[in-house]
């Protein structure tokens, strides 16, 4: 790539590119803001093999821009250290052998400060590239930039999940942010007095049978031109027909108070409620309550980003495995929705809710009904569906290494929908498919019930 034509910045294309650069800066800043309350030591911890040290997240999302944009498209790009390409590759086997995931917590160098320098370097170089992008690669650059930003937003949510897990392992119950603690304690004090929307019995919305359009297609205009709202992951495509039988969906997620009743009704000891894998999982692990729950003086508490706080009975129950969600649904005489059912219900609903911008980082009770549809579909907790994460009919992964993004994980995982209190609000949509193994609990995962008619 010796001679390239630079796109003149004064054109329409140039204006678009500037807009993308501002978006880039916004997303990059958001990652660092999430880490601002951390001590250097917190950045280093890998509290279980699913968790990555925050330092690694910050470096990995930067590496993504280096590996997929700067190295191929910025002529004279120089990496601060060629070893980063090995250390911060997550799982792109076709890009090179990644550093073993479970050992990420053993790498003390580069230091946190050096990782921030790496970030600054990437930011400068991206700015340099986007200020005068090679015209013949502009579409590809913007396409990859868009993926890179959504990728970094995904890692922002992972950062919250992982930081919560890291601090929760510590018997000192460290507090991520004191202001969150104060808000949560205030909520807890209020709870018994007020009547919230979630305190009422759930109602059921009925949906008629029919062939539905599920999933979404790639936007028809190039990324460079659209407004950034048109992005979709390959796993959401293509839009296709599914027959969905008549069903009913609860108008709100299951609450902590409801899940406590399941526990008190010996839900964890009744074999008939559990999938076989779930039954062996709870016996192997000894689970008797959701992740992060702890009984203090007879009252259920939970670790939060504000430390250990009393459980809000009306808030959506959170940090459950698929197995527990499934067992709860069976106990309640219902079932989990399929992802097509969920998407059918969400299709015409506005995207609003308790997202990361609400800055509570904890699911919360809703004080009153908002609109007519199902409440809290978006935000608060990811809702486990009964659907395995499998390719849609006609699914084609992206070309090259980016094709490893989603497709190769379509085995052994279950779909969750709707985003949570750690999800950026502009990152979610009705067709968005999140996925986790059925035993995972450190995501902000909860339950919404469905039932046959």
């Amino acid at each position: 790539m010796t001679q390239t034509t630079r796109a003149p910045i004064e054109t329409a294309e140039g204006a678009h590119t500037r807009e993308w650069l501002r978006r880039f800066q916004r997303v990059r800043n958001a990652s660092e803001a999430l880490c601002a309350p951390l001590e250097t030591e917190d950045y280093m911890v890998q509290s279980m093999s699913d968790v990555s040290p925050p330092k690694w997240h910050l470096a990995h999302v930067s590496w993504f821009f280096e590996a997929f944009i700067l190295s191929p498209y910025l002529d004279d790009y120089q990496t601060p250290d060629p070893a980063y390409d090995f250390l911060f590759n997550s799982y792109y086997e076709t890009h090179g052998k990644p550093f073993p995931r479970h050992l990420r917590g053993t790498i003390s160098r580069p230091t946190v400060a050096q990782v921030y320098q790496f970030r600054a370097h990437i930011d400068q170089e991206m700015e340099r590239l986007l200020s005068a992008p090679p015209a013949e690669h502009l579409d590809e650059i913007i396409d990859r930039l868009e993926i890179g930003l959504h990728h970094e937003q995904q890692h922002q949510e992972l950062l919250v999940m992982d930081i919560k897990h890291i601090l929760s392992c510590n018997p000192l119950h460290p507090i991520y942010r004191q202001d969150i603690r104060e808000r949560l304690l205030a909520d807890a004090d209020q709870a018994p007095a007020d009547q919230t929307f979630n305190d009422k019995a759930p109602r059921w919305h009925r949906y008629a049978a029919g062939v539905r359009q599920i999933g979404i297609d790639y936007p028809t205009e190039p990324a460079r031109e659209h407004d950034g709202q048109g992005f979709v992951f390959d796993s959401e495509t293509p839009r296709h027909r599914q027959y969905v039988a008549e069903f009913e969906l609860a108008d709100r997620p299951v609450t902590n108070a409801e899940f406590i009743r399941f526990i008190e009704d010996n839900g964890y000891s009744r074999t008939e409620l559990w999938l076989s894998d779930g039954w062996s999982t709870i016996h192997r692990t000894g689970w008797q309550a959701p992740e992060y729950w702890e009984k203090v003086d007879g009252r259920w508490h939970t670790m939060s980003m504000g430390g250990l706080v009393p459980l809000d009975p009306d808030a959506p129950v959170c940090h459950l495995s698929f197995y527990e969600a499934d067992a709860y649904a069976r106990w309640a005489g219902a079932r989990l929705p399929t992802e097509a059912e969920w998407e059918t219900a969400a299709d015409d609903q506005p995207i609003r809710g308790n997202f990361v911008e609400n800055d509570l980082l904890q699911p919360a009770a809703q004080n009153e009904r908002a609109g007519d549809g199902p409440q809290q579909l978006y935000g608060d907790v990811w809702e486990w569906t009964g659907s395995a994460f499998l390719p849609y009919p006609g699914f084609t992964p992206l070309e090259g290494s980016l094709g490893e993004y989603n497709g190769k994980f379509m085995s052994g995982q279950m779909v969750l929908r709707g985003g949570c209190c750690a999800t950026p609000g502009d990152h979610i949509r009705a067709s968005y498919r999140n996925f986790f193994p059925p035993q995972a609990r450190w995501a902000f995962s909860g339950i919404r019930l469905a039932r046959d008619v």
Copy 2:
């Protein structure tokens, strides 16, 4: 149950009951026929934790009749040993704590002879019960008898799978039956000379898009009255609508010769062909070929029920994990069919093929086309689908302990369709859903390709 009314044997119901008794005897004999070539020592081996000793199978299927029919419905029933209820319960947690599965091979008593005595005892008592069944329970008895017979047929197939695995672990390559060996060697000799149907390039059948009826409903008449062909497992119910997009299906399964080409094209070393879980599985296990394959003097051989024999290039490839089937399909530019697609194709096809009655216990090349439809849909090899084993819309498990039969395994497994060379021919149907974890290889599992249009 002190006073019961006996159903007079001369009535229509009595005739039905006699028919059921004959069917019972037929199925019971078939299990013992499969074990006839075994040495006493073979009955004892648990060669991996998925395998059960043949002795255990013979006892367990008998226990099923004791636990679910004789104990509840035969007034004065006496068990030969109350401990059998613990030793031979497979996984019915609601019936009592089962003996740990992985330790089945450590139980030398009861002896094989005593297990055969247990079988004879169950047979006599079942005959006694069916000769004068309590009228008020007749429907329930026949319902459970029908399940018990299908259950025993399932274990007949497991017996073949497990015996094959047991003998294959032995470096002496023991031969289950010499006559099978001779047939297989004769086939191998012929292979290069003859042109078989499977030797030709596969053709693709196209199926139009549309809403399909998938699954099956329970028969409307009681088991007692129908002809025994109407049986379905709960997991196949209910019949329901699914939208199936246009697709194409290969007219025959993938052959050994084709899979050898995948191996020789470094299929096992190309990360882009594999699901993430598959890639880590083949690295953990070191798999470089299907289960039971062994290269002798440069030629691929395979263990069979006739010992180690040269691989028939035109026979369907067999003993693959889902991961290998999926990787092969990707390599071939195709994909695995969904179970709805498979059932759509099978719906109007006759149920014929290389079943256990063919007594070869090995997939075989087909010499010429039979009929117009896809060939070898039934028999030879179970065909991996791309569908996870999940409940159909409206699925309700059976009441009581029998509700554990299928429902609790609806997690972490993939569906296979069509039966194999170890399946009883009257045990399979278009709606039949078999399932195994994606890493399982000891079933007679193979590949049929599908593709989008």
Copy 3:
């Protein structure tokens, strides 16, 4: 070895050889007598990886004669199956790669009957060889024969240990021999009435300090000439000096009644009594009593070769790990003896006791004192010492593959002394060093206390 000179059978050497042949037959018969009460199925079980199936033991000890005597020294020797050399090699890596130990229970062929045929074949061929041994190899043959016989006697004890473990895993509590059961039940009935020697408080024998001669040298005359009593294992050699400080030794082993007091005094819960490895072992395993103990209706029972029987309070406690023996000793304010102390005490004691010839296969209370010295030094239970199994000063392993017999296990194991109720009486001596890993419990292992003065 085409031309060999045969030793004339009428000479003194011939007479010796005949004597060796009779000894060979005696030992070989004893192995089969121990297996006579078994069902074919019992021969197949490997109930944990330390245990070998009895079938394997019978074949392996025969293989030893094939590999080390018949193959090298009998010109036209033919093996029944060349694969046996792989299947029945235990751990002689220099002889060829042994079959993986933990998979021994998966090998159903050769059958038990075929293994007995293998034994008969070996017996005939050994008789043929010994009837006209090649004179130039006679010494070597007799040396190896002697090792082979002691090797088979060791496996006789292992057979008893392994059969006991195999039957004990079965919840049916199978009975190896009914006559043993009757003797044990009779003893149990008597126990409370009679006063046994073991019921009295132990007394302490004091031994003066001094340089002791420990271990033993190889006999000076060739095996061919001595009476068979002069055999020693390499690990017992050479005789060497050790300084042994003044010490005291209990005059009898610790009894079941005494160990029950340890349990009731919360011995298993008091961390200060345990070695660190022991503490983690009992937490990992959940041990709360010796192996095979089971409380039935509030009374301690134990599995025996006569099935489950009440524990005899005055019998030596048995089936303890080194960790438990060590913790008991600390609780009792004493310690385990070193092997040099044990040998010092045993040096002038007659070799008599409850050996395998007593045919009870269970440690027993002694009714009255026999002689002045420490009682029950020999027989009943192997006594854990506080000595690690390490080479004596000047130790040299045997040449060739037989050098793997003992030396390579001199790491991570503890020495036990004195033989047990499953040891052949002519197999034990004061210098005999048995060894097991500190966590092993399936040997007939017990405790004798020592203390400093």
Copy 4:
């Protein structure tokens, strides 16, 4: 402890106490000096479960003074955080349940800065206590202080070992100190040119047979009064007689060049050289060279505290397991010395060598012979002996929780002697018994050969 008598500081006792305080400060400073080159991130890493994060070491040795001196003896002592007593207890089960060892790397708070504050707090409070110690507890305080200082010195060596392992796991090969790198590279450059003492063939020193005095007794005067050189650990006591047969000892440790010859002679592939546990260990781990060795462009390098450097052929070989040391000795036609032999040879030798004060933190070639005796007995590398770590005759552990210091580890470990390049020179003596499991390699462990005469 409300009313205590303070020891007047002007007395002889007061002078002693001041001396102890100075010693306390010296040792405490040395720990911090070792950590001075670290980044905050390095303090957090637990690179394997045997390794502890440096932060934990710094806190744990401080906790030792809190738990065993300040809490019991300083009336109004206040801990900065009661949770430290749980977080920083290593293994004193009788003191309270310790935090799980393998999770030490997951604890980010207290931060490194807070741990240094904890250290400062302990230092101040110790100074306060020692300035006016309660007279009635003075002996006990000084006894515990002395143990605490030796304990901290042990952790200084562990700090070096652990920091080396932590940095070695990082593919970037971080350098602990640049000046060490320069010294090591200079040595490597010199090596081929110069003739070192170690380059010459080893000679053998012969020692006559006889009863030897081994071990050491506690000093007869109280710690408070002696000069601090009289300290011994309980495991070294009591001094006792052992008979040691005639033997020979090599006059220097085995060098890297010699060990390379073992590797090139296929030492790692020859089963006859290995203990059974060693053979399975090298197959499980894949070891083909000592820990930290890496071949770069055909030349062996090793990680050091100066990063990756070429191996000095004449330096003592280091970072070997006991199994490798034992296999090497067998290959060389020799054996490892017993600890009594080692101590016999060391008894009259001056304590000098390449200790931590030499500040190289790497074993080094010796340029010329120093004195007549065996060279490099002290310093450079801990020398594996063939002796298991077991109690000496008459051994009695300390009272209370400190009794857990050594005694409970007397199982499954081997003794090493002589100190190494990371040992404080005033911490070692002829009777000092270090111990590690036979598979451990991250200590500075090497080989000195012995042989029978």
